[in-house]
């Protein structure tokens, strides 16, 4: 029996350490099905949350303050823009009807499409704040374009016989149906914006199956699949590198001096348990790297499923006797994909090796 040990080394600074997954990962561009389902199910409210999260995650990712409120705010303009555009389309259509009642064709819908197109062009090349400005500008532009037409229509309407006036400006469902593909396009543009912005901050993707240096070229990793990219530096002095990956994954590399593997791994278990409502299921294995003389600990934890998804934590720590290098991978994944994604995470963790 030994003494119930109080670790004199102080252990890992748990309070100062963040678990990437605990902040919930970015609304990844690759889970479109979930995005659209949630947007539809919540009548678009999820879109506001999702866009806000993009801004928040981008802020966390870059370490630069961002106007997170601008994202959902810009999306609030979408219904307004839709109303304006629908009005313009209707009015343009009415104008055509006035001029040639026999040809009730909706060429005026092009005006609405032009709006979405302009917005897309602006978004692709701009930061996330731009949609707000673009939307406002587009509305103003459409309004300016529509005002003369409105004026002409009003004047023409006054000249029509009364019975024909009643037919103008009526409810035309197809006008609104026209907005559906436009809204979809708009969503796709927003998603693409997110993706392009992501790339802007993470740089080029790391080639799958190839060895890449991390942690000041002292260690290497080999991404098992595509979609992994290097993330921006962190202010945390213990964080040496960060990767972001597919499947809403984040990998963070830490380096600790004068610590013990036992205290580190225990602090990880405690930290995960602290973040998760249910005590996660964990399994730890330690092996000895006879080439480098290192002890490698691999800790795999998975939370209980919540709303069809669960969080996986895969941690590998390499103890060379003087310092401990760690990769911490968090993945939020649909339950049915757990095993597949877990293997990917473990493969990345296992590829984490000393560079020599």
């Amino acid at each position: 029996v030994g003494v119930a040990e109080a670790d004199a080394s102080g252990g890992v600074p748990v309070a100062a350490t963040t678990i990437p997954g605990a902040a919930k990962p970015l609304g990844a561009p690759f889970t479109l099905w979930r995005f659209f389902v949630l947007v539809g199910a919540t009548c678009g409210v999820y879109l506001l949350f999702w866009s806000y999260r993009i801004a928040r995650d981008a802020e966390a990712l870059t370490g630069k303050p961002r106007k997170a409120w601008a994202y959902p705010f810009s999306h609030l303009f979408a219904p307004l823009a839709a109303l304006v555009v629908a009005n313009v389309i209707r009015d343009c259509d009415d104008a055509r009807a006035v001029q040639d009642p026999s040809r009730r064709r909706a060429h005026a819908g092009v005006c609405g499409w032009a709006y979405f197109g302009a917005l897309a062009a602006l978004n692709v090349a701009s930061l996330a704040e731009v949609p707000l400005l673009a939307t406002m500008a587009a509305i103003v532009l459409c309004a300016l374009l529509a005002l003369p037409a409105e004026d002409a229509i009003n004047r023409a309407r006054l000249n029509l016989p009364l019975e024909r006036r009643q037919t103008l400006g009526g409810f035309a469902p197809w006008h609104y149906l026209l907005l559906v593909p436009g809204a979809l396009l708009w969503a796709l543009i927003a998603v693409y914006l997110h993706d392009s912005e992501w790339q802007r901050y993470t740089g080029d993707q790391l080639a799958a199956g190839q060895t890449h240096y991390v942690m000041q070229e002292q260690y290497t990793v080999t991404p098992p699949d595509s979609g992994w990219a290097r993330s921006a530096p962190s202010d945390d002095p213990d964080v040496e590198d960060r990767l972001v990956g597919p499947h809403e994954q984040r990998a963070v590399f830490y380096l600790y001096e004068d610590d013990s593997l036992d205290s580190l791994m225990q602090s990880r278990r405690d930290l995960i348990a602290e973040y998760e409502s249910a005590v996660p299921e964990c399994r730890e294995t330690r092996v000895f790297d006879d080439v480098h003389g290192n002890v490698e600990a691999l800790l795999a934890c998975r939370t209980e499923p919540t709303f069809g998804s669960r969080t996986l934590y895969t941690i590998k720590a390499i103890d060379d006797g003087e310092r401990i290098a760690e990769i911490l991978i968090s993945t939020s994944v649909a339950t049915k994909l757990t095993e597949k994604i877990a293997r990917k995470g473990e493969a990345l963790a296992e590829s984490f090796k000393p560079a020599s």
Partner: protein, 643 residues
């Protein structure tokens, strides 16, 4: 009699046999011969005193005649500082007084101011420095007077060893490197055609020019050997071996002959055997018709325990064992006496055994350059037809069925009658199995019941440690070991020792201890402990060697640790990491499971015996440290209501 200590290296010459007391000597050293004074001056002029102590010159001239061998040795010593004078300020001459006439030709100190101060004869001391089985040697100590930094001492002496009446052919070994620098070496041999000498050396820095009846070797320039503690220096140092020409078979035949002659066949021996036959011990034993193994065990135990080891060989008994009758009557003897008695007692039981000489200092047979009895310092009895099943009655606490640890790997003559070979080695010298049952109580206390099982030659070592102590000292010894490995909080455990007197079984130590208030009874269980006995054992796997290989003896450790939380806690699964270490130095496995609400942790560590080269020592130390760092067991559990 047993292993020679590394301190023997300070004596550059390994010397032969003799009898106790102040040796007879011819003293011609009241004045310093002019030639030697000039040699001292020349040495002082060119020696580098900054090295502390050194030997600028060592010269040995051996002339073998028809009836005697005359050896003249000249040692020039330089003292560079006070420390070297303190450590090496005496001249030493070791000799076998029974067969040797000693003449001291010169013993003086040349001081830095040019004055010469001779050693006063009345300051000589004689010390019994018995280190070898075949001989009765004493060491003559000659204190150099007036030593100061810059002094040079010269010791010149001649030994004349009679050849007549020798049991074994004359032989001598000269080590050519020591713990201090040696600048010039000179060895000259000459012999007659009627008594030819054989010689050989593995010293690369000694160039020999042989002639028909002589050889002259010159060389030197040996630096001080590195002071690695865990090194078998005799296997590493270059040496010069010279002996009367013979074969290994000749030496073995001589040994067999003298042992045969010492077997008396007396009534006393027959009575002793009859007594052993009548003993009723093992369950299979039947009076007068015991199993072979049981008889061997009894003979080993009888000689080991009833015959007191006393390694004071005198006269011819430096080489020849006393008769078994005398040994039985005296109830003491040396390794030759005890082995001879073992052989005769076994023979009475129709079990054939033979004497085997042991060169305890050597583990590499190739280091025994020529047939030379001077290599050997021990004798054991080995069973005929059995590979290395040898009984060393001087180690009474070991089991006869495994080779004692001090013999494993050592070079011997007798396992094979016509060549020297090394005894086999067990892959694991340190073999320990531990079973620990920990039971938590609702009041936060923990009851630990532990069983340690020592196996193989380590069991013999531990048994020796325990048997050599009084009851109180034995308890103190066990407590000290426990506290060193586990801790000293909350008092000492209670101990029981099984098989302390049953040498052919594992030695079992049981302990029980309660730790009050070890955990909080009103909180979740969070308890950690390390495998203390493994940590303690891993100390044996540490070496500070820098230059020479570390001879690691091998470690096999297994522990089953059980943690019973009782009704007060419900244990969390998977709190103990799975450990699976695979290294060129060994393996470690640890698994755990929850069985019936208890946590069971299985640990197995296997680090086989190995000679670790200096370039691998860092990696080995790292692996050992990794094993040590991964001995933590964590037990966690949530409070639960008592059932």
């Amino acid at each position: 009699m047993m292993r020679t200590s590394a301190a023997l290296l300070l004596l550059v010459l390994a010397l032969p046999a003799g009898a106790g007391g102040l040796p007879q000597l011819r003293w011609n050293a009241d004045t310093a011969p002019a030639a030697l004074v000039e040699l001292a001056r020349a040495s002082a002029a060119r020696v580098d005193f900054s090295r502390g102590y050194s030997q600028p010159r060592l010269s040995t001239t051996i002339a073998a005649g028809a009836d005697a061998v005359e050896t003249r040795t000249t040692i020039v010593s330089a003292f560079g500082d006070e420390e070297s004078a303190y450590a090496y300020g005496n001249g030493h001459i070791t000799l076998d007084v029974e067969s040797t006439e000693l003449t001291v030709n010169a013993a003086f100190v040349l001081h830095p101011d040019g004055t010469v101060q001779t050693v006063a004869r009345d300051t000589l001391q004689s010390v019994d420095t018995e280190t070898e089985v075949f001989g009765d040697t004493v060491t003559l100590v000659l204190p150099y007077a007036g030593l100061q930094p810059g002094s040079v001492a010269v010791l010149d002496f001649t030994r004349r060893e009679k050849l007549a009446g020798r049991i074994y052919p004359w032989g001598r070994i000269f080590y050519l490197q020591s713990s201090f620098p040696m600048d010039e070496l000179h060895v000259a041999l000459s012999w007659t055609a009627s008594r030819p000498l054989a010689w050989a050396t593995d010293a690369e820095r000694l160039k020999c020019v042989p002639a028909e009846l002589s050889v002259v070797c010159d060389g030197g320039g040996y630096p001080a050997i590195a002071r690695d503690e865990d090194a078998n220096f005799f296997d590493l140092l270059p040496h010069f071996s010279v002996a009367e020409r013979s074969t290994w078979a000749d030496l073995h035949a001589i040994t067999s002959r003298i042992v045969d002659r010492a077997q008396s066949g007396s009534a006393r021996v027959k009575a002793a055997f009859a007594g052993l036959s009548r003993e009723r011990g093992g369950t299979e034993g039947r009076e007068g018709n015991q199993p072979r193994e049981e008889l061997i065990a009894r003979v080993h135990g009888f000689v080991g325990k009833q015959i007191r080891y006393l390694g004071l060989e005198q006269g011819k008994h430096g080489y020849v064992p006393h008769s078994t009758d005398a040994t039985l009557e005296r109830r003491f003897g040396d390794c030759k006496d005890m082995s001879t008695l073992v052989i005769e007692l076994l023979k009475n039981g129709a079990i054939a055994a033979r004497p085997v000489l042991v060169a305890s200092d050597f583990e590499r047979p190739e280091k025994l350059l020529i047939p030379n009895v001077a290599y050997f310092d021990h004798m054991v009895a080995c069973l005929d037809g059995e590979t290395a099943l040898c009984l060393d009655a001087t180690d009474p606490y070991s089991t006869w069925s495994s080779l004692p640890s001090h013999l494993q790997g050592r070079v011997n003559l007798g396992l094979a009658s016509d060549k020297v070979v090394a005894f086999p080695r067990e892959p694991f010298l340190w073999t320990l199995e531990v079973a620990t049952a920990n039971a938590f109580a609702a009041d936060g206390s923990l009851l630990e019941r532990q069983t340690r099982k020592y196996s193989g030659s380590w069991a013999g070592f531990m048994r020796g440690q325990l048997k050599a102590r009084t009851t109180d000292d034995r308890t103190r010894f066990l407590i000290d070991g426990y506290e060193r490995a586990i801790g000293d909080q909350d008092g000492s455990p209670e101990f029981e020792v099984d098989n302390l007197d049953t040498f052919d079984r594992d030695l079992v130590v049981r302990s029980e201890k309660r730790y009050p208030e070890l955990v909080r009874e009103d909180a979740a269980l969070d308890y950690t402990e390390r495998l203390g006995w493994l940590m303690d054992l891993l100390d044996e796997a540490q070496s500070d060697n820098r230059e020479y290989p570390f001879q690691f003896s091998g470690l096999s450790y297994a522990e089953d640790s059980t943690f019973d939380p009782g009704n007060h806690w419900s244990l969390s699964p998977d709190t103990v990491p799975v450990v699976r270490f695979r290294s060129r130095f060994g393996e470690v496995d640890r698994t755990s499971e929850i069985e019936g609400g208890r946590l069971v942790v299985h640990t197995a560590v296997r680090l086989p015996r190995a000679s670790i080269e200096p370039r691998d020592l860092e990696a080995f130390a790292r692996f050992v440290q990794a094993v040590r760092d991964n001995t933590l067991i964590q037990v966690r559990g949530a409070l639960t209501r008592p059932r």
